[in-house]
Symmetry: C2
Subunit: 246 residues, 2 copies
Amino acid sequence: MSNADFHLIYWPGIPGRGEFVRIALEEAGVAYKDTAHQADCMSVMQSELAGDDGNPPAFAVPALRHGDLLISQTSNILQYLGEVVAGLAPAEVPGRYHVHALALTALDGFSNEVHDTHHPVDISAYYDDQKAEALRRARAYVGGRLPKFLAHFESVLAAPTSGAGPWLYGGRLTYADLTLYHGLDGVHFAFPKAVAKARESGKYGRVFALYDAVRERPNIKAYLASERRQKYSDGIFRYYPELDIV
Amino acid sequence: MSNADFHLIYWPGIPGRGEFVRIALEEAGVAYKDTAHQADCMSVMQSELAGDDGNPPAFAVPALRHGDLLISQTSNILQYLGEVVAGLAPAEVPGRYHVHALALTALDGFSNEVHDTHHPVDISAYYDDQKAEALRRARAYVGGRLPKFLAHFESVLAAPTSGAGPWLYGGRLTYADLTLYHGLDGVHFAFPKAVAKARESGKYGRVFALYDAVRERPNIKAYLASERRQKYSDGIFRYYPELDIV
């Protein structure tokens, strides 16, 4: 099986949760197909989610097909890429689980909880129908959760397990770094004032150094400037001026 | 390293997220220490979360110590147990990732989203300060998300990948089954009317057969009747009569 057999199954028109997978594939420099750029995206998504004899039905995208294997759940896909693509994760047991915990925590703090800031009480209803609740949730996020997660990652970067360089674990880049980078990028899109204030505070210098270092990786830089990169819009990360608080 | 070296680090007084780990350890029949039953629980939690030279700081409990290794994040711990304890997960690549996706989806639908029904807008505020929002979120959960997740797992159990018997994948019990079981048990505690209605509808016969089958496993049965099992109270799964809707 060649890496060109990677096929990312995800909605078009937003970076969304699929972007965590895309960023890992791009950094690793492997070829992949992406439903976001296919005319038959919707029908492919529908048929892949149904599963087949070798793969159980999946609850939601993103999913990744690699030959006969179809796997779902963002963190699960990242872990799989960490196992089969060189340079995204340590191969040995302690490092593998440590990196994965860091990626899961980054997804919690900089993706799942961000989604809830614009959809706090009804995932299937419009934002316009939950604006008051969204403002309350955004206040709790910006004032409480965001600094808590930033402080956690700052402490991880200050710990001996971080090793040399700007990375979270073991002195080398892993998919946990890429996940933290993209989550923080999305939070910056949604809450630019709060993230600017966090950066200026100087309290999370290591976190922002990691962010800057990922952004300067040649493959990431090329990807961000390419047509493959989709603009933020109505996905997990949304910009509503009334929620852009500090 | 023996299995007796397993040490679950979690809050006392609630089953909580730690219970997903506990249920897996109990089903596997391995000995473990549990901070929930230690007088020095709080100080152990605090020192373990800080990490040490071999382990990065952890964001939150549950954490599991196994000899020198300390890992956090519920799904990550379950996956680790699937790798090092016999009988909780397939060892090979496709099955390992499929089982993990199923466990992650069960945690999403029957744990994370349930927590949000009583804390929809501010995780650090009291339930009493978000009762109106909680009722709205509970309505969206009971009326929309719960049936969606139940239908998903029913389809997984009806797919060829489920294999023989009541289990989700490959004809044998895995930690994904245990996760679905305990999540549904918690949802039943929080929303007894809605879960009774779902059972009576007959639409999710396979899901409830799995639930009943796990409950009858000798080790699980003995555990549930033991002193080790803590009562539901103010954790993820809470009973508020005003949220017990159908």
